[in-house]
Symmetry: C2
Subunit: 225 residues, 2 copies
């Protein structure tokens, strides 16, 4: 047998390609390759074309860097959303997860990753510059001079202030990235918030880690029955 | 969002294609699609091309119907293997599994499936006709007339007799297929054997099913310490 293991080089190449996917071992890859072999050839081509087209034709929203079919994504072009609330997330998936909750009515900014010295990902690899430019446009254009500079006169009720919500993971890399972005934004005088951390709904107190439980106590909320 | 769930139709199509694979749900498919998006485009094309080539250029051995790069597979073209011992299996994978054991030195015949009325797979959908033709060639050509017909004279020591080993699964469909093939082969007067069934090595007696344990007792073997 070719390489003592596969009866055909074509099969071997396909198994190798499939097992390059994360979480797919060579046994599953073999199973998938043999499954594809049993399908009509058009189905296999349909499968590979869908993947090729995604790689070749994908676009990102010029505003929020989200995957999009158009220049501006559906969220950024939606007038009913609050364009002064910007939720900063790591990935496309996070946008999808938050959208599922139906609890957020602002817009997003997709970083495209997280600062991780170990993986060699630095701030310049992420869409942080685009976020700052976006915030400068937003604060520069729409906030009246009086509010931007003046502590002199009374604060004029106006458009709601810009808020950046850092919706990053609670691990070291997420915290590092949040802190980095916070420091970049701070000079702009923009409100910056972060996700509430605490026990999940249905979580058992007994099994919660001490850090989470601790934060849940410190950040306790008024009981609303 | 497009279809309320995916930010882009391209992504949606790719996720749909990937989740058509067995054992891949839409969550994993999304994860894989986004993973592919992060790869350099050449890597994605390398991935899809390996699969396309498998589907487009695959060949099957004309003798045993195994996947092969050539007309005759490496096993069938190997002179050191016993071409009169034919192991009948359901799939390419079974050949690979048996080869790994290193315990079989004959050749194979790949049925390409199993008789399954529920899935609408009948004998004519499998490579059974090819097996019979192969056996007829094997017995017709090489067995002297005296042996084929005669019980008259003394049995002449000659080439080892042809043996068909039915290495099919132990479920109803496997048994049905084995029985069907056995009935087809019987008129040819060929020795037909089947895999030994019994407790697996390391199996716990307590947890063995009654049928397997029963067969293990009936087919008990001499103790060879």
């Amino acid at each position: 047998m070719t390489s003592d293991k596969y009866p055909s080089r074509l099969l071997e190449n396909a198994v190798e390609a499939i097992s390059s996917l994360p979480g797919v071992g060579s046994r599953s890859a073999l199973r998938l390759a043999l499954h594809l072999l049993k399908q009509p050839r058009e189905n296999v081509h349909h499968f590979t074309q869908a993947i090729d087209r995604l790689a070749d034709e994908v676009k990102y929203c010029r505003e929020c860097m989200m995957l999009s079919d158009d220049d501006l994504c559906q969220i950024c072009s939606d007038g009913r959303r609050d364009h002064r609330q910007i939720c900063v997330v790591e990935s496309v998936r996070d946008v999808m997860s938050i959208e599922v909750t139906g609890q957020f009515h602002g817009v997003y900014h997709v970083l495209g990753g997280i600062i991780s010295p170990i993986s060699g990902v630095g701030p310049s690899d992420l869409n942080i510059r685009q976020l700052l430019e976006r915030l400068q446009r937003l604060t520069g254009e729409e906030t009246p001079e009086a509010i931007r500079h003046g502590m002199d006169g009374p604060r004029i009720p106006s458009a709601p202030e810009v808020e950046v919500i850092l919706a990053l993971s609670g691990d070291v890399e997420g915290e590092t990235t949040a802190f980095y972005i916070y420091r970049q934004i701070a000079p702009l005088g923009i409100k910056v918030s972060t996700l509430a951390r605490g026990l999940g709904f249905g979580d058992d107190l007994e099994y919660a880690d001490a850090l989470t439980l601790g934060r849940s106590i410190v950040n306790r909320q008024l009981f609303k029955p």
